[in-house]
C-alpha cells in the first residue's frame, strides 16, 4: 500500500514557503536598514526605474496567479483541458515578465548602471545601495520565477497526461502555492523599488 497524505504534502510545501519568505525577509531587512540610512538618495535613485514596466509586470503576475488558482478549480471539476490552457497562460505571463525584465535590465546595463561598474561606483553611497538592492532583489525574484515556471511546466504536462486529476491534484496545488509566493514577493518589491519617487 502506498502512503499518501495530501495534507502532509501541503504542510511540507507551506513550511518550504516559510523558508522562502525568510530568505527574502533577510533582503527586506537590508532594504529597511539602508532605506533608513539613505532615505533621500533612495527617492532620487528610484527615478531611474521604469515604473511603467514595473506596473505591467505587476499586472502580468497577478493575472498569472489568478489563472493558476483557476486551473485548480478546473482540475477539481474534471476539466483537465481547461486546466492545461490556464497553466499555459500562466507560463506565457511568466515569459512576458521575463522579456520585460530583460529590456529593463538590458537598458540599465547598456548605460553602464550595474554593480561594480564605473558609473555605479561614482554614484552616491545611497544610490549604490539602492541599485545593488534592486539588482539583488529582482534577480533573486527572477530566479524564483524561473524555478516556478519549471515546476508549473512539469505540472502542466502531468495534467495533460492525467497523472494529476480530479481525485489527485496536490502536486498542482503545491506548484500553485509556489507560484503565488513568487507573486507575493513581487507585491512587496513593486512599491518598495518602483513607487518611492
Amino acid at each position: 500500500m502506498e502512503h499518501r497524505d495530501d495534507i502532509g504534502a501541503k504542510l511540507g510545501m507551506w513550511v518550504f514557503i516559510f523558508t522562502e519568505i525568510l530568505l527574502f525577509g533577510g533582503l527586506f531587512l537590508v532594504y529597511a536598514i539602508m532605506r533608513l540610512s539613505y532615505s533621500n538618495e533612495f527617492h532620487q535613485a528610484a527615478h531611474h526605474l521604469n515604473a511603467f514596466i514595473g506596473t505591467i509586470n505587476t499586472i502580468v503576475l497577478l493575472v498569472s496567479s489568478a489563472t493558476v488558482a483557476m486551473s485548480i478549480t478546473a482540475v477539481q471539476k474534471g476539466n483537465n483541458k481547461l486546466a492545461v490552457l490556464l497553466l499555459f497562460i500562466t507560463l506565457i505571463c511568466a515569459a512576458v515578465f521575463m522579456v520585460n525584465k530583460y529590456f529593463e535590465w538590458g537598458h540599465k546595463i547598456h548605460i553602464g548602471l550595474y554593480p561594480g561598474s564605473d558609473l555605479m561606483v561614482s554614484l552616491s553611497h545611497g544610490q549604490v545601495m539602492f541599485f545593488s538592492l534592486y539588482y539583488f532583489m529582482t534577480g533573486l525574484h527572477m530566479f524564483h520565477l524561473v524555478v516556478g515556471g519549471i515546476i508549473l511546466t512539469i505540472v502542466m504536462i502531468k495534467v495533460q497526461t492525467g497523472t494529476i486529476n480530479a481525485s489527485r491534484y496536490v502536486l498542482l496545488e503545491n506548484g500553485g502555492l509556489y507560484w503565488h509566493l513568487v507573486d507575493l514577493i513581487w507585491i512587496f518589491l513593486f512599491p518598495l523599488l518602483y513607487l518611492i519617487t
Binding site: 499518501r4 504542510l11 496567479s65 489568478a66 488558482a69
Partner: protein
C-alpha cells in the same frame, strides 16, 4: 485519513479576487502621485499587505485550510516582524 470535504472555489470568485488586486495596484500607483512625504511608504506597505492578505487567503487557499496553517503563517510573520523590530532597536537608537 483522507476524508475532509474538498472545497472548490468557483471561477468567478477567482476573477473577483483578481479584479480586487488590480484595483489595489491602481490605488497604490495613484497614491504615489500625491505627495504625502513620510506617509507614502506607510500607505504603500499597507496596501501591499492588504494585497498579500488577499493572495494568502484566497489564491493560496488559507481561508479553507485547517486552522493549523493559519496559525503557522501568523507565527512566521510575527517572528519576522519581531526580527525587524529588534534590529531596528539598534539602528533607530544609535
Amino acid at each position: 485519513m483522507h476524508t475532509e470535504t474538498v472545497h472548490i472555489t468557483p471561477y468567478r470568485a477567482h476573477a473577483w479576487v483578481l479584479i480586487a488586486l488590480l484595483a489595489l495596484t491602481f490605488v497604490t500607483i495613484t497614491v504615489t502621485w500625491i505627495d504625502l512625504s513620510a506617509l507614502t511608504v506607510a500607505i504603500a506597505l499597507l496596501i501591499a499587505s492588504v494585497k498579500a492578505y488577499i493572495v494568502l487567503t484566497n489564491f493560496m487557499h488559507l481561508k479553507f485550510e485547517s486552522s493549523l496553517f493559519r496559525v503557522f503563517v501568523g507565527m512566521v510573520l510575527a517572528i519576522y516582524v519581531l526580527v525587524i523590530l529588534f534590529t531596528l532597536s539598534d539602528y533607530l537608537f544609535r
